[in-house]
Symmetry: D3
Subunit: 137 residues, 6 copies
Amino acid sequence: MPTVYVTRRVHFNAAHRLHNARRDDDWNRSTFGPCNNPNWHGHNYVLEVTVAGEPDPETGYVIDLGTLRSIVEERIVRHVDHANLNLDVDFLAGILPSSENLVVAFWNRLEGCLPAGHLHSLKLYETERNFAEYRGE
Amino acid sequence: MPTVYVTRRVHFNAAHRLHNARRDDDWNRSTFGPCNNPNWHGHNYVLEVTVAGEPDPETGYVIDLGTLRSIVEERIVRHVDHANLNLDVDFLAGILPSSENLVVAFWNRLEGCLPAGHLHSLKLYETERNFAEYRGE
Amino acid sequence: MPTVYVTRRVHFNAAHRLHNARRDDDWNRSTFGPCNNPNWHGHNYVLEVTVAGEPDPETGYVIDLGTLRSIVEERIVRHVDHANLNLDVDFLAGILPSSENLVVAFWNRLEGCLPAGHLHSLKLYETERNFAEYRGE
Amino acid sequence: MPTVYVTRRVHFNAAHRLHNARRDDDWNRSTFGPCNNPNWHGHNYVLEVTVAGEPDPETGYVIDLGTLRSIVEERIVRHVDHANLNLDVDFLAGILPSSENLVVAFWNRLEGCLPAGHLHSLKLYETERNFAEYRGE
Amino acid sequence: MPTVYVTRRVHFNAAHRLHNARRDDDWNRSTFGPCNNPNWHGHNYVLEVTVAGEPDPETGYVIDLGTLRSIVEERIVRHVDHANLNLDVDFLAGILPSSENLVVAFWNRLEGCLPAGHLHSLKLYETERNFAEYRGE
Amino acid sequence: MPTVYVTRRVHFNAAHRLHNARRDDDWNRSTFGPCNNPNWHGHNYVLEVTVAGEPDPETGYVIDLGTLRSIVEERIVRHVDHANLNLDVDFLAGILPSSENLVVAFWNRLEGCLPAGHLHSLKLYETERNFAEYRGE
């Protein structure tokens, strides 16, 4: 049976700030530059969720992408959309919200929740020009 | 010698319906929702065909992408463009036209037809937000 | 007070066929080519709805784009999404579903329904390369 | 002599909050919903600046788009990029940062600064699906 | 009868150089910077051709966009695609190939060639961030 | 520790010609068609640079994407932007500038220059429809 990779793309808009609370302000400013602005900045994030598996002979689906969308909305998007990623999101508490750390945290929110197939990769676009991917390895 | 992956993107517009003829109408409606509409709906599909191989020292090509385009047009696009994927396409007869099943069927149409390189992956976008990839595994 | 033009983009997927029932099959085939396929084809349509007006001093809005989205969903999208534009849509009965005719019919569905501002233009993308705009003139 | 419209697109990432300080919190929450989050949210804004004029016979330019970019960077982008639009930007003080109000405020920053041609329109994308345009009328 | 604006988008890849042969090399270098490179540079140009008119009651078309595409290919694209805009194109002889001058020259090639509707605007993208529009005024 | 793949996208505009100087003009014309035009043509190239590694616990970064951008600008973009890839670029001397050969040559320019993480892949878009990827294998 063939293995197919299906992807659902979702969107959210959020504020954040790159800041390491264990280091002083000078270190943070010189390390993160304008991304350290104490008054925050923000992005239109795009998240691509890819699930791998064999198409079900009855439905032709690896996973119903409407179901996948609902899971991603419930586990991730409703928590982070129109939110401050440093202040408002329980499952991001204590996590410096770089794209790298976000995509790993999102993986941990989704990994055990799939009714079919298995999570293959998450790709998070902070902008069209900067993005991060995690494959659970 | 390096292995390079070259991709050609093509487009087609088609109607389809998700429907499993071995199951009754209630099952189909509850499984596929609006995608089961008996009067069809449709998409602007985008197909990315990726071929892997070593660049030819004389041409710098893994495969001439104009040649690759012609093969994809001949083997796939001319059959599915402005077509009904459930009714009009010989090589899709009996196949439930989910993106997963389509991309596997397209692989079978292309796999033996490459004059250079080998088929590495097919990625089929049903919309910008939903897509399926197959790598022949 | 300044006049600002605000736009909301929405999407729908539909099947259609270009066919003039008052003309014979030969005329239809030679006029519309593959777009006349009796088994239909389809598109991922994109509709941009632009409303003009003065920003409200209390809200900064010409119109709440969430409200505009709801109106467009109610008046247009829920009727045409995952539908056959020739068969399934009451307000398109008897209308040849070219992009030009669709965009005028959509205008007539929206024009009287805005709580603030006035309808300025509708732009309908059949594909990324083909689109039609109507400004109510 | 022909009139040509030339456009330069620029980008910035910012945090903001829709909030009218003259109204109470209940009104703000019910009017702006999640956009009223006191902890902010943010966007990847795209701004298109269009200048109209006759091409210079010596250069073929209405305006050197490199010069236009520098003006837009100096007058707008360096103030709003990686900033909080409610707190950090002098020329937005007291302005509710809806897309409509932002695009008018940006017009006032640019209008008198062009060495050639005249400002024709500003188009501000908050997301790919929501945008506002102002033409100085 | 309504006036609808229909657009066809086409693509071409070309080399060019911004250089005014009536001025000396110093002036050209300081005016055009890297765009003056004597060894050329190039772009993936995108041209949007917009035609205005009333939809034909028989076809629903302002103009058949397949016909429009053929006209644009014959009058413009086959001359400029994979060409050097300074050296290879008869109808651009003596024209400094800025986007502004190109879009006016393209207008003159198309204006008298439409079987239905009238030419409303041409929009030429040199890059995603720089573009020029001409409306025949 | 997780391995994350971070990508920075950059752009450059260049002229080139596909031509093998060891073969005669007839062979070159029949092999490369319009891409062999002796007067050159050109593209808006897009290059995606992907680096793999573990996020630094202090910064959340695999590599600072601003640093990565500077390295790619210094090692590649400033040499190829607004340049002729056959004539102007030292590190491309003697290389037939197909996308395949370019992406391998760019890899060799970047591979040893990363302060953190390791180079995972380079993806070069010649157009939206044609692209090549190299993973150092």
